[in-house]
């Protein structure tokens, strides 16, 4: 049974099945570095801030771009659920996409190098992660057993080795770590230099802080749960958009038996945001978190919630019941969660086929 060095099948590009969603308020210069890896894909740019400003997209990319005027036009009154002056607006891109997979990345994230000095194709790793199963029901001590060179360890039940479908692939960052403002203030010079060569499934029943900087998900499996909340202008809180989406998403994935992976790939995070500005944004969140976490940890979804939308609407009800007493913001947020689902279903009617690709720049 001796096997020679098995040739590993190349990772499929998925270029017609994946959209790259990028929120931006400044410019898209960072795309130049990503060109070798991103050029085959369609981009959805969500322009935050002043809609009269022109965001220049580097030549050669196939894209659609939405500014605030477009968001208002397309969603009408429902546009109230999409944040303004916060990268949370990116979830609008998830809603208008017609593809199966979404990869989202921040405009201050660049190509990282692995310990051998090789440039990391983050998208390729995300695709590997999302196309292979997850193992949420039992922890494998050798991490992702589907990776080349790894497997299930002794004692791992065979009946669980088929794994679960992977809904989310959460990547990490070298250089500027994703710390909260207090930690940034205490450790302004700390850089993440440790390359941990692992992908692993976050066990069922365990929550984690999901960072939106380097993230891929299966829109068909979990899309409607990826609402990034009400943040930024006119809102009492910021920098909790991806956190909120992550907690909702994980509760729903656990309920539906889907898997969430974290670890590789790494990107290079270049910009450290101002910790004092961050502190102002996060301030309320730091206290509210202490109520929010127990809420999500104990959230139970009834058996008849068999779709993501049903789960999400149920969660929004529970948010209104249990978190509104923490602050009226949660009442608004619960309403926005409902609006989001309504908008999602409007733009993504069940059974609709993929629409024809639009010429560059033209909006839906």
């Amino acid at each position: 049974m001796a096997s020679t060095e098995a040739s590993v099948a190349p990772t499929p590009l998925l270029k017609d099945e994946l959209d790259i969603v990028i929120p931006t308020i400044r410019n898209l210069d960072f795309l130049e570095m990503w060109r070798p890896f991103f050029q085959p894909y369609h981009l959805i740019i969500v322009q935050d801030g002043d809609p009269s400003k022109t965001i220049n997209v580097p030549e050669g990319f196939d894209y659609e771009l939405y500014n605030r005027n477009d968001i208002n036009r397309i969603l009408g009154p429902k546009a109230s659920c999409i944040s303004f002056k916060d990268s949370a607006c990116r979830c609008f891109g998830y809603m208008v996409s017609k593809k199966k997979y979404i990869f989202t990345i921040d405009d201050d994230c660049f190509v990282a190098k692995d310990p051998s000095g090789k440039a990391i194709n983050a998208l390729e790793q995300h695709i590997k992660n999302i196309l292979s199963p997850s193992t949420p029901h039992f922890f494998n001590t050798l991490y992702d057993p589907y990776r080349e060179g790894a497997d299930f360890v002794r004692g791992y039940p065979f009946s669980l080795r088929e794994g679960a479908k992977t809904a989310v692939s959460h990547g990490l960052w070298l250089n500027i770590p994703d710390y909260d403002a207090p930690t940034q203030l205490v450790k302004p010079r700390e850089r993440n230099t440790r390359y941990v060569d692992a992908v692993m499934t976050i066990p069922k029943g365990t929550l984690f802080p999901m960072c939106g900087m380097n993230l891929t998900f299966d829109r068909e499996l979990i899309g409607p749960a990826m609402y990034f909340g009400l943040m930024g202008d006119g809102q009492p809180i910021g920098r909790y958009d991806d956190m909120w989406a992550g907690w909702c998403m994980k509760v729903i994935c656990d309920h539906l038996g889907l898997g969430v992976k974290t670890g590789l790939p790494y990107i290079w995070h270049s910009k450290a945001s101002n910790p004092f500005v961050n502190l102002k944004k996060e301030y309320k969140g730091i206290f509210w978190q202490e109520e929010i976490i127990p809420f999500f940890q104990s959230a139970v979804l009834p058996k008849d919630c068999t779709s993501v939308q049903k789960c999400y609407l149920e969660l929004s009800k529970q948010v209104k019941e249990k978190l509104a007493k923490v602050d009226p913001y949660f009442d608004k947020l619960a309403d926005a969660m409902v609006t989001w689902i309504e908008a999602w279903d409007e733009l993504n009617p069940a059974g609709a086929g993929a629409s024809a690709p639009l010429p560059n720049g033209q909006k839906a």
Binding site: A2, F152, G155, P177, D178, K187, N192, D197, K204, C211
Partner: protein, 425 residues
Amino acid sequence: MRTPPSLLSLTIDLALHNLSNISDLSPVPDHILLDLFLRTLRAGKLTEKVLKLFMATGKDEVLSLIEALNIQHIVIPVLPTTNIKDAEVDIVIGALHSDLTAFLNEWKPVFSRFHLIIVKDPDLLEELQIPEGFNLDVYTKSDIDQVAGSSTSILFSGYSCRYFGYLISRKKYIISVDDDCIPARDANGVLVDIVAQHITNLATPATPFFFNTLYDPYRKGADFVRGYPFSMRSGVECGLSCGLWLNLADYDAPTQALKPEQKNSRYVDAVLTVPAGALMPVSGINMAFNRELVGPALLPALRLAGEGKLRWETVEDIWSGMCVKVICDHLGLGVKSGLPYVWRKERGNAIESLKKEWEGVKLMEEVVPFFQSIQLQRSATTAEDCVVEMAKTVKEQLGQTDPMFARAAEAMVEWVKLWKAVQSS
């Protein structure tokens, strides 16, 4: 007006400040050398290296001053200061091979500071061969029989002999490694000190209630990420540290038989807490635990009918590990997994082992749902209480399906009795 320091004085001060960068003092004029030596003494900077530097000049005045002051070379190496005293650690080795010479010599750089407990597999007939240079105690069949009684001593055959070491140890921390493993080297080629890493894992808090995406937040260069609740950042005590293996990973027989060439060459530079409520296979090959917190929960109970002397032919550690994880979750303690790595040597034939281990593979299908659903009573506040309760539940729920489990439940009860008896003696 204060006299400003002379240029010479400033130069000597600068030399003192940069002493670590100087490799040769012989060109320095005698009187300056002497002055530098005296200032070094006064500044408390006379280390072994610096002393050698001065002596190497061969200058009489300096040498006679050293003699007059009775300055001596340090012979005993200065031990690194850690929060854990070496005296709190026992290293327990279950000897399934009689010749431990190569094994122990490989581990000498890591083990020599500590006390070792070597427990000889009671089924092993040959005399143990142990090299010099270690502080150790050896236990054989007769010791086991004496302490456990000959009827209970069946518990300690094969790989389970190591549990006898855990039983009679009096230390706070136990580190246990199989006798077919040697030290690994990390990505930089540096020898992995499994004792130091396991101790660090056990002595720093665990974070079982919320997953930190940068893994162990207490490691240098890492921290809790944005969104990690502040109230959970002090963590809980770590009860168990599970290490990993390079080269021959701990796969089961079917997997290894299918992929005989597959070796684990991936060094994952992380330690992480396995979340509360998540179960995992705990391998007995390379692990450490806080005996005071979870001692009795590491127990020899599930023995396969065809259990053999290769890890592929056992599930005793998997059973024990499930008990420990459930108990840690119940008591609010943490379990870590990841570093350190050991290098595991190849031996055995997976296909041969398949004939024996299939039984274990089958059993796991019943075992896992059981452990996933077990609820321990609030009144069980110690590891001992938890084991007793667990044994009862095993007997009631699993004992009916297979006599193997009924025997395991009995073994757990025997074990706790023995544990209590030995602790109080």
